[in-house]
Structure formats: C-alpha cells, structure tokens
C-alpha cells in the first residue's frame, strides 16, 4: 500500500525526490498566490490527518476520537499562551505534552480491544474530553478561548506578521511530517506494518505488539496535538469545534479520500476538504451532507483514495509488488475466523 514510502533497503527513486522538491517549492510560494490563513489551516489539518493515518494506515487501528488530542492540545496551548503568558514554542510544547499524556491513558485502555471496539472506545473517550472542555472553567465553555497572543518565537521572531507565521507553520508541518515518514520507514514502522497485516504472527515472532501499538498511539496523539496547538496560534482561538466528534469524523474522511496508508494521501485529503469547507461555509449543513455523501462514495467505490490510485502513475511505474487491498482484507477476515475457532480473546 505504501507506494510512496522511502524503502531503506533500496535508494529512493529519483521521482520521490523530484516530487518532494516540487511540493516544498509550491508550499514556499503558496502564500504569495493563496490566502495565507487558508493554507495554514490546511497545513494544520494535513498534519492532523497524517498523524491519524499513522495509526489507521500503518497499524490498522481506526481511532474515532482523535479530536480529543487535536482540540485538547489547542485548548492547552491557548491557555498557556494567554493566561500563563508562555512564549509560543513553550505553549506548543505544553499542548503536545498534554496530548501525549492523554494518548498514553486512552491508548493504554483502548488497545485492549480491536477493530470496531477500538473505534467505539476512542470515540467515547473523546466525548468525555468534549464534556470536560464544555464544563471546565479555563476553556470558556461555548465561547472558547479567544484573542490568544501569537507572541514572539524564541523571543525575537514576531509571529504576528502573517508571512512569518506562515513559514513557522510550514516548518512545524514539515517537522511533524518528517517524524511520521521517519517512523514509518524505521524498524519500528516495519513492526507496525507487521502488526497491521497479521498480529498473531507478529506476537509469535516475539514482538510485544501491545507496546508497539501503544507507542504508535502516543506518537499519533502527540502529533495530532502539535497540529491542534499550531492551529490555536494561527487562529488565536481554541473552541469546542476542534474537540467535537465531527472533527474526529472529518480527519477520518480526509485520510479516506486521500488514501489510507499512503504518505501523501492525508495531505491531499486535508487540502481538498479544507477547500470544500471554505467554499461551502455559508451553506449551513450542506458541508455535513456532502461530507456524508463523499464518505459513502469513497467506501463503496474508492477505497484506495486519490493518492492510492494516482501515485503509481506519478512514480512512473505501476504498483505490482503489493497485493490489492481487498485481498489483504479477506485474509484478515479469515484470520479473525481462525481466531474465533481457537477461542482466543481479542
């Protein structure tokens, strides 16, 4: 599935470097022909989706509660910057640390179950965080935390200038993206993929899969938090929207539409969905309806996502080594059945 992955065994094909250079050049030039706040929002959502995809695409765990980390971190960062008066870099670190801690607790509990149970558990925990944010004093309830100061990065870089803020967000995104790419292509990432394909076998090979899954969950939560913290500084605002279950659904949709288990898929999905929301913002609930329709269409006919379909051509070769996703899934279902027969607990 990971067509774009930089396999360590063989040098990355030249096409990957060309694409990377082109995309970074595009990102550097973007604020000169696009509205910077729009691109910054899209970059935050893209990092959020990439963090989510690390879990779904590479460990096979569908979290329906990632808004808790995204929105929770944005609240902490907003509070740290506004009330504690922390500089932006420390405020963001505080948000990321909170998201990672939350990820440790939720992950520890949630990885005890798999599949749809995992999805339901993460959703329920995220709803708990939502209710907490609704009731806690420091979050400002329905009003959220407004007028968050962007401050000066390291004391001398003024983030109040739109272009400076833009390049800061771009650096944050590239950092998070780099961490994810590195993790996926490390031995750690290989074990994650092994767990995704066949967990019982990974266990029989001596891997403590629980620890790998928990670590992946914390990493994913922390990076989702990084995205949320940055978004809080971009908009100078933290609100209940970012911690609501609809946000968890949105990040699933971004990843699905771009391509689950592809490196660039979530980025493409995030830009598409943010653009769509931008244009349909005035039409009330139509955003929700159209998102629902895209969900249904993607699940029925377009499960590989945009990057999953396009990437083989963009790389100048057809994917042939990897079996089609369907085949893998049927195999997994059979493994499930075998496990049922063996009476193993999940």
């Amino acid at each position: 599935m990971t067509v774009l992955s930089l396999d360590r065994a063989k040098p990355a094909p030249i096409a990957v470097w060309l694409w990377a250079a082109g995309l970074i050049a595009l990102a550097l030039a973007a604020p000169h022909f696009l509205y910077p706040v729009f691109v910054m929002k899209a970059l935050c959502m893209a990092l959020f989706a990439c963090a989510f995809n690390l879990l779904l695409g590479y460990v096979g765990l569908l979290s329906f509660g990632h808004a808790a980390f995204f929105g929770g971190a944005s609240y902490i960062t907003a509070h740290a910057a506004k009330v504690w008066g922390l500089p932006p870099e420390l405020a963001i670190i505080a948000g990321v640390a909170a998201a990672a801690a939350l990820g440790l607790v939720f992950g520890y509990l949630a990885i005890r179950r798999q599949g749809i149970y995992f999805a339901m558990i993460t959703l329920a925990f995220a709803q708990m965080v939502f209710f907490f944010c609704l009731q806690a004093k420091f979050t400002g309830g329905e009003d959220g935390i407004q007028a968050v100061p962007r401050g000066h990065l390291f004391g001398f870089i003024d983030l109040n200038q739109p272009l400076v803020m833009y390049y800061f967000v771009l650096v944050v995104f590239l950092f998070g993206f780099g961490v994810i790419v590195r993790a996926i292509n490390s031995p750690f990432g290989q074990v994650l993929k092994a767990i995704r394909e066949n967990e019982p076998r990974a266990i029989s090979l001596g891997y403590r899969t629980e620890q790998y899954k928990l670590l992946a969950f914390i990493l994913s939560a922390a990076l989702a938090g990084l995205a949320g913290s940055t978004k809080a500084l971009v908009f100078q605002f933290a609100s209940l929207t970012d911690v609501n279950w609809t946000m968890s659904g949105e990040v699933v949709l971004m990843t699905l539409i771009g391509g689950i288990g592809t490196i660039l898929g979530p980025v493409v999905g995030a830009f598409l969905l943010t653009t769509m929301e931008n244009y349909l913002a005035q039409t009330g609930s139509w955003v929700t309806i159209i998102e629902g329709i895209i969900f249904v269409i993607c699940v029925l006919t377009f499960r590989e996502g945009i990057v999953g379909v396009v990437a083989p051509y963009a790389m100048g070769r057809r994917a042939h080594a990897e079996p089609p996703p369907e085949a893998v899934e049927v195999e997994e279902a059979e493994v499930d059945k075998l496990r049922d027969v063996a009476g193993e607990s999940d």
């Binding site: 749809i116 999805a119 699933v252 609930s285 309806i289 998102e291 699940v299």
Partner: protein, 298 residues
C-alpha cells in the same frame, strides 16, 4: 460540623426524580444497544446510523401527527415500519456491497449515512427541537407517596421493558431466533441447510433499525424532536455496548438500564460528572474485564 451530610443526602423527591430520569434514559440505552447488538451479531458491523434512525423514528411520528393527523398509537407501528423499510433499502443497496470487506468499512459507511441524514434534517429544521405532545390517554401523573410519577414515563418504562424482553424471547427461545443465532456463528453452514441467510441478514438489519425508530417514537414526547437527538445519544450507547459486551442480548438490556440508573444517581450526588460517568465506568471495565461485563471473548 455535619454540613457535608446535607450535600451527601439530598431530599427524597429530588432523589427519586433523578432516579426516574435515569431509568427513562436507561430504557432508551437498552433499546438502542439491543438493536446494535442484534445487527452486530449477524452483519458484523457497528451501525453508526443507529442514532440517526432513532431520530428518524421521532421525526416520522412528528410528520404523521402534523401532516396527516395520525396520532401517537398508530405512529408506534407506522414509524418503525417506515424506518425499517428504509433500513432494508440501505442494507440491500449499500451494506451488502461491503459485507466481505474489513468491518471498519461498515462503520465508515454507516457514519457517512448518519452525516447525510442528520445534515438534511438540520438543514430543514435547524438545531432546535419540535415539541410532540403526550397522547391524551397518558397525560397526568399519579402520586406514589414518595414522588409523583408521570403516566407517560411509567408507560415508557413498562413498554421498553416489554419490548426488550420480547426481543430476548424471540432470539433466545424461538425457532427463528435459533436460525439467527446459528447464522451468527456460522453463516455458511446455515446456508447449506437451505436457510436463506442473505434475506435473514436484510430482515435483521430492518428489524434492528425498526427497534431504534420505535425508541425514537417513544422518546418524542419526552425529549424534543430534534435533528441532534440521535448523535447526542449514540456515543453514550456505544459506551454502554462496550461496557456490556456484545455477546449477550440480556447483557445489552441489563447494562442499558443499569447505566441509565447510575447516570441518574450521579446527577443527584455529583452533577458535574453526570455526563462523563458512563465513560469513566467504561474505562474501569476495560481495565478489569476488557471483553465487557457480559461479553464473550470474541
């Protein structure tokens, strides 16, 4: 010196009133988690649309009353039939296509459907609720000595218990239920015996969805009929399902009512935690018994 006692022991009427609210909520949790469990058993999907279908049931009753002048009692039958048929269409047209894929796709598909249905109703009716009057036979309340019990609420508790037990009876004690349970265990083998499993899957989905709609009709006079009523309750019901485990029908019923009661009690003693207590219990259950209180390891 004993100031804290006043906090710890609330006045009796408040106590019983919250207990009643808890029991009512529990009745809806039980009916919804029952439908989820039945659908999950045969289709292996978590029906995310369940909340939207509960909302559809309530809106059906509201349409019947306001557009056609059809009252509560006929609506109790007509609304679940309409929503059930809609469910059958969904199963035939959409869910069947992805039955052989990873179960997560079923979750995503039904989530998308829930967004569509809710979005359409929110576009039409906003976020505010429409009132639905209590049927005239069930207005008023009776004095139980320690509290006033509104007749409609008593009816909801009795009726939901009856519905839950009837569902349990059909699944655990009848021939049809035996086929159903057999198909849950091994659909291929049951098919080899000449039983039309695909049709059974369709009807089961329709039945589970109709149960959600029935709960929606019963909820209409208590909560306002609002496009958001489904998504508000479905996440809590998911937590109830995780706590109870999907293995047993009786487990779904018992945990539904019990957790409603716990929620009501929390409202008495520590109101701030009432919206989160079920999730905390879920965390504790996951620590102690990951498969759920009544769940079989699956």
């Amino acid at each position: 010196m004993f100031d804290w006692l006043h906090i710890a022991v609330p006045p009796a009427p408040l106590f019983f009133a919250q207990l009643l609210v808890g029991l009512i909520n529990g009745a809806f949790y039980a009916m919804l988690s029952l439908g989820l469990a039945v659908i999950f058993g045969l289709l292996n999907i978590i029906n995310f649309t369940h909340g939207a279908q509960y909302m559809l049931g309530a809106f059906c009753a509201w349409f019947l009353l306001n557009w056609l002048g059809i009252g509560y009692w006929p609506a109790l039958i007509i609304a679940p039939l309409i929503v059930g048929v809609l469910g059958i269409v969904i199963e035939r047209l959409l869910l069947r296509r992805i039955a052989r894929l990873d179960h997560l796709y079923g979750l995503l598909l039904t989530f998308g459907l829930a967004l569509i249905i809710e979005g359409i109703f929110r576009q039409q009716y906003g976020s505010s609720g429409q009132p639905y009057t209590i049927p005239s036979e069930l207005t008023g309340a009776r004095n139980l000595g320690f509290m006033f019990l509104p007749n409609y609420r008593a009816w909801v508790i009795v009726a939901s218990l009856a519905i839950c037990l009837a569902t349990w009876f059909v699944i655990e004690r009848t021939r049809l239920g035996a086929y159903l349970r057999a198909a849950t265990e091994n659909p291929v083998l049951v098919r080899a015996f000449g039983i039309d499993v695909p049709r059974m899957v369709t009807l089961t989905y329709g039945g589970g969805v109709a149960l959600a709609a029935l709960a929606g009709v019963m909820a209409a006079p208590i909560y306002q009929v609002s496009p958001l009523m489904g998504s508000n309750i479905i996440i809590v019901v998911f937590a109830v399902v995780v706590i109870g485990g999907m293995g047993s029908i009786l487990g779904a019923i018992v945990s539904g009512f019990a957790l409603g009661l716990v929620e009501g009690l929390t409202k008495v003693f520590y109101p701030e935690a009432s919206s989160t207590v079920i999730f905390v219990i879920m965390a504790l259950v996951l620590l102690v018994k990951p498969a759920g209180l009544f769940g079989r390891a699956a």
